[in-house]
């Protein structure tokens, strides 16, 4: 195993920093924006965070499709430095990359599709505070270093280890801003529901990142009136209509992970009506769908024998991840999937380890 300041990674050299930055851009090693240069000293400091977690720099997390580049802790740390991460962000990036190397996420297929999906990271547990992740106002917007740097580090790994590049391997027709960075913490303190990761089988004091690839957020406006039953009913209908939008892939296939990202006010409104996270999943699956005749005509120009049959937009309630995030107000959001690939665009959750792990955790859905 290499010692301090001994790296397996090869070196890139140039006369000055500007030349190196330009070289990285020219060689498609960045997301198009300038990066922090991954000098040996900076990467070594980053790797200390991995060392605290018991992760040696030569541990291989897996291969990143489609190029099947090896994601070692060292390579992930190099990309994290470039993204602007602080050392306390690295454990989240490592867990996210472990998820993206999991064959269930079909990273090869996700990276090459013409759809606009991007890996969304949902962080739960103490890691939200330890990494300084935002979960409230504008969590998916600008201004939040941890969210942006962690998400960006993942994208840089997808580029540099997986070979993603627009129009060459990543054939997304338009792309979306979440392809640069797509990361938030769940607003556990403002949520009436148990943290998402506990619903997925993790202990409350554990930290975890849930990764799935989805499209950009659709805004869902619902003005609450205080009528508990009516508010819940309207919210569920609005969310279901948005999830079932006829242009969404899942409207045609009923496959893929759907994010119902409730703002805390909307989450409390559903909770006041007695709904659990599982109830919301079931209600959305029951309600989201379209008449098959209209759907097939609009999407494919086809006619069907049973046009009044309702084509579900969600095949299984477990496909819906109910997450609480964002500020208080009228707006929640829905993210819908691509739905393709051998594992149908599912999600994977991995534990985030900050300190003294003896081994890489292998826990997930």
């Amino acid at each position: 195993m290499p010692g301090p300041l001994e790296f397996r990674a090869s070196l890139i050299q140039a006369a000055d920093e500007d030349a190196l930055r330009e070289q990285l851009v020219r060689e498609r090693r960045t997301d198009g924006l300038p990066v922090i240069l991954p000098t040996p000293e900076r990467v070594e400091a980053m790797l200390q965070a991995a060392a605290f977690a018991g992760l040696g720099r030569d541990i291989v997390l897996g291969e990143v499709g489609p190029n099947l580049g090896e994601a070692t802790i060292e390579k992930v740390a190099i990309n994290a430095v470039m993204a602007g991460c602080l050392p306390e962000h690295l454990p989240v990036v490592i867990a996210a990359m472990q998820a993206l190397c999991d064959p269930r996420l079909d990273t090869t297929e996700v990276q090459v599709t013409t759809h606009q999906i991007a890996p969304l990271l949902i962080v739960n547990g103490p890691a939200v505070k330890e990494a300084g992740l935002a979960s409230g106002f504008g969590a998916l917007g600008y201004g939040h270093r941890a969210n942006l740097s962690i998400g960006r580090a993942v994208r840089l790994c997808l580029i540099n280890l997986g070979g993603g590049w627009p129009g060459m391997s990543d054939m997304s027709l338009l792309g979306q801003p979440g392809m640069i960075s797509y990361c938030l913490g769940e607003a556990e303190d403002d949520s009436p529901f148990p943290p998402l990761h506990t619903t997925l089988g993790f202990a409350a004091d554990a930290s975890a990142v849930t990764v799935t690839s989805v499209g950009s957020p659709h805004s869902v406006q619902a003005v609450l009136t205080g009528d508990v039953a009516s508010d819940a009913e309207r919210l569920l209908e609005l969310l279901a209509h948005t999830i079932g939008g006829m242009g969404n892939n899942n409207a045609g296939t009923a496959s893929g992970t759907i994010i119902a990202c409730l703002n805390p006010d909307h989450a409390r409104a559903l909770h006041r009506a007695g709904l659990t996270r599982q109830d919301i999943q079931a209600e959305l699956a029951r309600r989201a769908g379209n008449p098959a005749g209209v759907l097939q005509r609009l999407r494919y120009g086809r006619t069907v024998e049973d046009p009044d049959r309702i084509a579900p937009a969600i095949g299984d309630p477990a496909q819906v991840l109910v997450v609480v995030a964002g500020g208080q107000g009228f707006y929640s959001a829905v993210m819908t999937p691509w739905g393709g690939g051998p594992h149908r665009n599912t999600y994977v959750t991995k534990e985030i380890v900050f300190y003294d792990a003896c081994d890489l955790p292998v826990v997930g859905r």
Binding site: L11, P38, K75, G163, M171
Partner: protein, 182 residues
């Protein structure tokens, strides 16, 4: 003059590269041709037209269709094995989007690895993606035939014309002519 060093963020080693060296005698009697449709819209339809065009060129050829419905997944290993047992050459299609280009190319690679000379049909808008995918799975020389874009959704008459026009390229791809060019 001193130089500044940074660490390479890219993967240090990729997939091992293997050459493509297969060729078929496309003039042999009763050439057995596998049409491997990945299920992209109009893929099976277009390959049927390709089969018809080939039959006009090679009247005693035996044309077999292997169609699936999902272009985002690869042909199953059993299907690849069945084609290797029953066919002399294969054509995979349609490379007309991101995931379907990937699956068309990777199907061709998997067939080549099973010993079947194979060519993937890729539209010109996704040609570079086909180049990338072939390299990413370690067989940059796997034959591809360039199609205009779009093919899907252009109607039977147009697709039949494209099918007719690609026969020469397809036969070359299956034969040693392609191996020499690569």
């Amino acid at each position: 003059m001193s130089r500044i060093s940074i660490l390479n963020p890219g993967a240090e080693s990729g997939v091992a590269i293997e050459s493509y060296g297969l060729s078929a005698d496309v003039g042999r009697p009763r050439l057995r041709v596998a049409l491997v449709s990945n299920g992209f819209p109009d893929s099976t339809n277009f390959l049927t037209l390709v089969g018809e065009a080939l039959s006009r060129r090679l009247p005693d050829a035996q044309i077999l269709m292997f169609a699936r419905l999902d272009p985002t997944v690869l042909a199953a290993a059993e299907v690849v094995a069945e084609i290797a047992r029953s066919c002399d050459v294969a054509v995979t299609a349609l490379g007309h989007c991101g995931s379907c280009t990937s699956s068309a190319v990777r199907d061709a690679v998997n067939l080549a690895r099973a010993g079947v000379p194979a060519a993937a049909l890729i539209s010109e808008k996704f040609w570079d993606a086909g180049v990338f995918n072939a390299r990413s799975v370690g067989m940059p020389g796997v034959p591809r035939v360039r199609l205009p874009h779009p093919v899907a959704g252009t109607g039977q008459t147009r697709m039949a014309q494209i099918a007719k026009e690609l026969c020469d390229d397809l036969l070359s791809a299956w034969s040693a002519a392609h191996a020499r060019a690569a």
